[in-house]
């Protein structure tokens, strides 16, 4: 029987980055993917003949360092997609290349100032997203070094900027933006990246500002092309990829020194062995479903169980006979937001907190077929929308009628910004968080495998004892978005995990 050095559960982008790194270091690597297509939440799915989409519709912040290290070719975009705050009258706010248009001169100046400041903060933090954060209180110097370096890096910002960083780090997005800007649409637009995917709204204190800093810079890709490039680099390095192969459990066996993960069992009962089992699945799926609580300590299990990992984003995919035409916009390129004010976002969140969905959900819209023509037949397009906020546990339960009602509301919002869009719809697919959970095997249907929140970041992501990619179960490793640094298509978690595995 073939024995592997590492079996990686899940061919999401982090699993593929990890596989590529391990394979290039000479390890025998097998990647097992339950779905028929690799890519995880960036895997293409044909929802109507000829039309394909994936939950992640942009990959704006993939690590350029990893792309270079792995020799990824075939598709980095020249610039990050622009961010457009849609106004139904066409008076849009457009954020592109470090400048904003559609607002007054004062707001434009304030934007340049904030943008420069956030760039500086993001540059300070960037090295720390891409390295392992040790647990606090470790006995070795190496355990203390990153904290000392972080402290030193922050100190180098200078007194004034350091104070500002400490002041705003846990600030609600709203407070930060109200301090600096007047234009309501600009504020709603700028706050978006602090919130999207997490259980947070503009008024929520916690990780919004850190999320804004995490989602800056690096390299933009079309998600589909990023996955193709990662599959190519991993397999050409010798990693074996098996799709349509569901792992049902991690094999745990007693060893002389206790128990250890020794391999995986597949849905058909086949057992595969490896020295390391590396899970890119989310922590709850990994520990509670694939490993099983009986192999884990009680306190650890409880912390994993308590992770806030309920998804609040639904997906709407539209097959369109033609490119959508948004009022007052030259092209539908970029990420288009339908949140007129921060209150609109807040109110949508308020509804979701109590199991409801706002009458006017807020959407982030993209047309991925603009960057990857293979996603739709020639001349036709795929529109993808993140619909916020849609609770995992909808009051009254998830029925087809409930899905249709929310999809209709989202389409109504779109129609208001792109009159005539409804007529061009060939087919549609609506995925509520439980649908994303079922299709992609991610607990709660949460994009980031757990909220981007201060208590679930750094050496606390997903929880201490598993935050350095190694887990309390010897032989089992994590490499997914549930680990430091977090979700989004950055590749950093998979890369960090591979480095630890190769130590």
């Amino acid at each position: 029987m073939q024995r592997y050095d590492a079996i990686i559960i899940g061919a999401g982008h982090n699993g593929l980055v990890c596989a590529a790194r391990l394979a290039r270091a000479g390890r025998r690597v097998l990647v097992l993917e339950a779905a028929d297509q690799p890519g995880g939440l960036a895997a293409r799915h044909e929802f109507h003949p000829g039309f394909r989409a994936c939950p992640a519709h942009t990959a704006a912040h993939f690590s350029a360092r990893i792309a270079t290290d792995l020799g990824l070719s075939g598709g980095a975009l020249p610039t990050a997609p622009r961010l457009v705050g849609l106004a139904s009258d066409g008076a849009h706010v457009v954020v592109e290349n470090g400048a904003v248009t559609g607002v007054g001169a004062e707001d434009a100046d304030a934007f340049r100032e904030l943008d420069a400041l956030l760039d500086r903060f993001a540059a300070t933090l960037e090295p720390f997203w891409g390295r392992t954060i040790p647990r606090i209180g470790g006995p070795r110097l190496a355990d203390k070094l990153p904290f000392a370096q972080l402290g030193f890096a922050l100190r180098r910002l200078g007194r004034e900027r350091l104070h500002e960083f400490l002041r705003i780090a846990a600030l609600p997005a709203r407070d930060l933006l109200d301090e600096r800007f007047e234009h309501p649409l600009l504020k709603a637009t700028l706050g978006w990246d602090g919130l999207v995917g997490s259980r947070m709204a503009p008024r929520s204190p916690n990780g919004a500002v850190l999320a804004m800093l995490y989602r800056r810079g690096r390299q933009a890709w079309a998600p589909s092309k990023l996955i193709d490039a990662l599959v190519a680099t991993a397999t050409s390095a010798g990693a074996e990829l098996r799709t349509g192969t569901r792992v049902t459990r991690v094999l745990v066996e007693g060893a002389a020194d206790g128990i250890a993960a020794t391999g995986v069992e597949l849905a058909d009962g086949e057992q595969l062995r490896a020295d390391s089992v590396v899970s890119s699945a989310d922590p709850q799926t990994t520990f509670l479903r694939l490993v099983g609580v009986r192999h884990l300590d009680v306190g650890f299990t409880n912390r994993i169980r308590r992770l806030r990992a309920g998804g609040l984003v639904a997906k709407l995919h539209l097959a369109l006979a033609e490119a959508p035409r948004f009022t007052g916009l030259d092209s539908p390129a970029g990420r288009l937001l339908t949140a007129p004010t921060m209150d609109a976002i807040e109110f949508a969140f308020d509804d979701a907190k109590y199991g409801g969905v706002a009458a006017q959900p807020v959407l982030e819209v993209a047309v991925p077929s603009l960057d990857d023509a293979s996603l739709a037949p020639a001349g036709q397009h795929v529109l993808s929308a993140h619909v916020m906020y849609v609770p995992h546990a909808l009051e009254g339960g998830w029925t087809d009628a409930a899905r249709d009602a929310i999809a209709e509301r989202a389409i109504d919002v779109l129609e208001r910004h792109a009159p005539g869009l409804r007529r061009s719809i060939v087919a549609r697919e609506f995925l509520a968080p439980p649908d994303i959970e079922a299709r992609h095997g991610v607990a709660g249907g949460h994009w980031h495998h757990g909220d981007f929140a201060m208590d679930q970041l750094l050496m606390m992501r997903p929880t201490y004892d598993a935050a350095q990619y190694r887990t309390p179960l010897p032989g089992l490793w994590l490499c997914g978005a549930g680990c430091h640094p977090a979700g989004d298509l950055t590749g950093l978690a998979g890369d960090n995990a591979a480095r630890e595995l190769l130590r």
Partner: protein, 398 residues
């Protein structure tokens, strides 16, 4: 709600044995345990202590927390929670155990009764519902039920205890070995008797539905009249358990979730309970931390001290020299032991000082004036007091 008593919800609960115990409590010396009104002593602590050493006495264990754990996964769930191998407890047998945090710190100690292949009872001094629920999470078939209020428990301890039970008609009870459980028909229900206790002497614990508690009491006291049966309270228990070398939460250790400073909790190795940790089990909660603790050796050791003189060393600080050069620990429980005729104590000492001289600084008040004495102490191995009758089967009638 009780319309006539505005404080009804605040009042202490009454044990099902309370109507009888109240009559005995000449001193109205009540304290509280887990929300129950509970006797510190009834008449005189030393008198009650001598009753349980020379005759027999009853101790109300109704306030103890009792959990029934049943289901196909009950054994697996407990095996992951506690440090002992539950699968090795035979049916109708009892095992003493501890359970620990992931960090290997003692949450509590208690006894596990195996009542059937898939049915257990866990007894412990403090409420444990939260930890049990967390421990049961993820197991498909296990039910944890708190039976603390519905199951009455009465401990019968002392050299004449077996004779009293025989007189009461529990035929064959003398054949029960230590840590064995027997069942008897009683008052239309089943009386469960376990040969267990907290005094280090011959003794039994009687378990019955709350409704039959008084019937049990009356039958027991009728049978025990000629054997000197007498209720005893917390103070006498504390003397007896110390002689036996048993530890008491909040005296000899603080439960891990209840320390104010997190480093003030203790591992089983520090408490001398390393023998309860079964590393033959491939996994249980805290195993990795305890393995490391065993390798490193415990920082502290709960030592049994024999202290010169007769001044009880309650609350004393322990030093490495008569001149108090370095403090090496503290006394957790102390008494003059009538059974051993020695000045005994449990003390938490820094392990590296166990081999050196041990001096205890004792203060004693005489007519309100404090007097200080430095007393030399030596280590004792094993319990201070362990009479053969405690383990004899069948026990003699005395």
């Amino acid at each position: 709600m009780n319309a006539t008593d505005p404080y009804a919800g605040e009042r202490l609960l009454l044990s099902p044995f309370h109507p009888r115990q109240q009559a005995y409590n000449l001193r109205d010396a009540w304290g509280a345990w887990n929300g129950y009104k509970f006797a510190d002593h009834y008449y005189d602590a030393e008198y009650e202590y001598f009753c349980i050493r020379n005759q027999c006495g009853t101790y109300d264990i109704c306030p103890m927390q009792k959990y029934e754990i049943r289901g196909r996964d009950a054994a697996a769930m407990l095996n992951r929670m506690v440090t002992r191998d539950v699968s090795r407890i035979g049916i109708d047998r009892v095992a003493y155990t501890v359970w620990c945090t992931d960090e290997g710190r003692v949450i509590d100690d208690g006894t596990i009764f195996r009542l059937a292949e898939d049915r257990f009872m866990l007894n412990c001094g403090s409420p444990c519902t939260a930890w049990l629920r967390q421990s049961a999470y993820g197991f498909a078939d296990v039910e944890v039920r708190d039976v603390s209020d519905s199951l009455a428990g009465l401990s019968l301890q002392g050299p004449t205890s077996c004779a009293v039970l025989k007189r009461m008609g529990l035929t064959g009870i003398e054949q029960a070995k230590p840590f064995e459980i027997r069942h008897f028909p009683f008052a239309g229900t089943t009386l469960r008797v376990s040969r267990t206790g907290f005094t280090g002497d011959l003794g039994y614990e009687l378990w019955i539905a709350r409704e039959q508690a008084l019937e049990l009491w009356d039958a027991l006291y009728a049978a025990g009249a000629d054997y000197g049966i007498q209720p005893y309270g917390e103070a006498a228990t504390n003397m007896a358990r110390l002689e036996a070398g048993f530890i008491m939460p909040f005296m000899d250790f603080t439960e891990a979730f209840k320390t104010v400073r997190f480093e003030h909790d203790q591992t089983p190795f520090e408490l001398g309970l390393g023998w309860l940790v079964d590393f033959d089990m491939p996994h249980f909660s805290g195993r990795a931390a305890l393995l490391e603790e065993r390798r490193r050796g415990p920082a502290w050791t709960l030592a049994r001290l024999d202290i010169e003189g007769n001044w009880p060393a309650d609350g004393s600080i322990v030093y490495d020299s008569e001149a108090c050069r370095k403090d090496i620990g503290y006394v957790t429980s102390a008494m003059w032991s009538p059974a051993v005729k020695a000045n005994i104590a449990l003390a938490m000492l820094r392990s590296e000082h166990l081999r050196g001289p041990i001096w205890v600084e004792i203060y004693k008040s005489k007519d309100l004036r404090p007097y200080r004495r430095m007393a030399r102490a030596s280590l004792r191995k094993g319990p201070f007091w362990a009479p053969p009758r405690a383990r004899q089967t069948p026990p003699s009638d005395h």
